[in-house]
């Protein structure tokens, strides 16, 4: 049961048109660049995409959008992507906006065998429309469902043969919960390290959640807003 493969292309056989795909990252931070590029180079289409954001016009998941590979999107914020906003206003793509915390929790719940849970987030807004409500201790909550994906694409800093992952700084974000929620989880990392070189106390994602892993190449790690101390 070798988890390590050479590159993104070695895993493309796992993805099929029509699948539900989770893609980690917050904005462009911590996104699985290699797998995103491999998908945008493929003929895959009709994808349902679960991701906090949807990239920018010519980078990240924006590439799938430009190539019309996406049927439906679940995300909390898409403001960085002008082309997407245009498509959305014109009804060219199906979209479910999910509050960021609800999205993170729905993904974790999907991975943790919890089919549904209650939150106050969105009560009294259009997010609550069509959802069951329930009152606990005098306060109204809405029921939200767990989310799973056929494939979860995630990105970590370092990983080992067993699929254990560690992240750096805020590049963790949605990657941990998505690793849990993928029926098949593919992790790309900046560096594959020898077995035993990660401290068992510092593992962010235990290998049980990771079915395939590879060392990504040519990370661009684009920054959306470089803001410097001398600019303030």
């Amino acid at each position: 049961m070798k988890k390590v493969v050479e590159n993104a292309n070695d895993l493309m056989y796992l993805l099929k048109s029509g699948m539900t795909i989770m893609s980690g990252g917050f904005g462009l931070c911590g996104i699985p660049e290699n797998m995103i590029n491999a998908v945008s180079d493929s003929e895959l289409k009709d994808l349902t995409v679960i991701s906090n954001n949807i990239g920018v016009d010519n980078f990240g998941l924006g590439k799938w959008l430009t190539k019309r590979q996406i049927k439906k999107i679940l995300a909390s914020y898409v403001g960085e992507n002008k082309e997407f906003e245009r498509m959305l206003i014109n009804g060219e793509v199906e979209m479910e906006f999910v509050p960021q915390g609800t999205l993170a929790e729905r993904i974790r719940a999907g991975g943790a065998g919890i089919p549904a849970f209650y939150v106050a987030t969105g009560v009294g807004t259009e997010i609550a429309e069509g959802k069951e409500t329930k009152t606990f201790d005098g306060k109204t909550y809405i029921m939200e469902r767990g989310l799973k994906a056929d494939i979860a694409l995630i990105k970590a800093w370092k990983g080992d043969d067993a699929g254990n992952l560690v992240f750096k700084a805020t590049a963790q974000n949605f990657n941990t919960a998505m690793a849990m929620a993928g029926k098949v989880t593919i992790a790309e990392v900046e560096e594959i390290v020898p077995s035993g070189s990660l401290d068992p106390n510092h593992i962010h994602v235990p290998g049980i959640f990771v079915q395939h892993i590879f060392e990504g190449k040519n990370y661009e790690k684009r920054i959306e807003r470089i803001t410097l101390s001398n600019q303030i």
């Binding site: 206003i89 509050p99 960021q100 993170a104 805020t170 963790q172």
Partner: protein, 218 residues
């Protein structure tokens, strides 16, 4: 004189107590960090997975892996911590954040807030704003009192899709500091040199004026 954005931030900074964990939204709220007194120790939370957010980095310290919820490059203080999104919103939803400051398009006299969508025009998404307003006991909205056409943004009823219902309890605008109760907007402080009459004219929702309204001290 109406307050500048910096002055709105400055006034809100006075509401901050030592030891607070604070989430500051994009725009005016971000400026607040500049006005927190040195002897008031606070910890800034950024919902993408960071506690102990530090200042923006110098050129050589820019790190693509270290950003805030506004996607800006930031730094982390020595006693900071990183964590995943589900943990970050456990902090928010669980009521562990002491103060949330965010912007708004509109607030209603019932405490409803609209801040994420202008149908047909702007659909960016709510990000973490719905989670924040639903969870926080202590929320301050930082906003302009009127839009560019001079129309009130403090309304009887919001015209835009809501971010949260019946959740806002304090607002600082360029004209005033207001608190909300079951009656509507209660005027607490005027911007220096701004008359109660001017605030009344700029407020569509029910404005409660009780006694003498003091000028803000900045």
């Amino acid at each position: 004189m109406a307050l500048t954005k910096e002055q709105i931030a400055q006034r809100i900074a006075l509401e901050i107590k030592d030891g607070y964990y604070i989430n500051l939204g994009i725009g005016i709220p971000t400026l607040i960090a500049n006005y927190i007194p040195d002897d008031v120790h606070v910890t800034l939370h950024s919902e993408n997975g960071l506690l102990g957010m530090g200042p923006f980095p110098s050129d050589e310290n820019v790190d693509a892996d270290l950003i805030n919820a506004g996607k800006q490059t930031v730094t982390v203080l020595p006693d900071g911590a990183f964590f995943d999104s589900s943990m970050s919103f456990a902090m928010i939803r669980g009521g562990h954040i002491d103060l949330t400051v965010l912007g708004a398009f509109e607030v209603s006299e019932a405490g409803d807030i609209a801040s994420w969508k202008i149908p047909g025009k702007m659909i960016k998404g709510m990000g973490g704003a719905m989670d924040l307003v639903a969870a926080a006991d202590n929320i301050i909205v930082a906003m302009q009192h009127t839009n560019r056409a001079g129309e009130s943004k403090l309304l009887k009823k919001c015209t835009l899709p809501l971010t949260g219902a019946n959740c806002i309890k304090k607002i600082v605008t360029d004209l005033a500091l207001l608190e909300l109760d079951e009656r509507g907007f209660v005027l607490k402080e005027r911007a220096p040199g701004v008359s109660v009459d001017h605030i009344q004219k700029s407020t569509e929702g029910n404005l409660i004026i009780e006694g003498e309204i003091p000028e803000m001290k900045l």
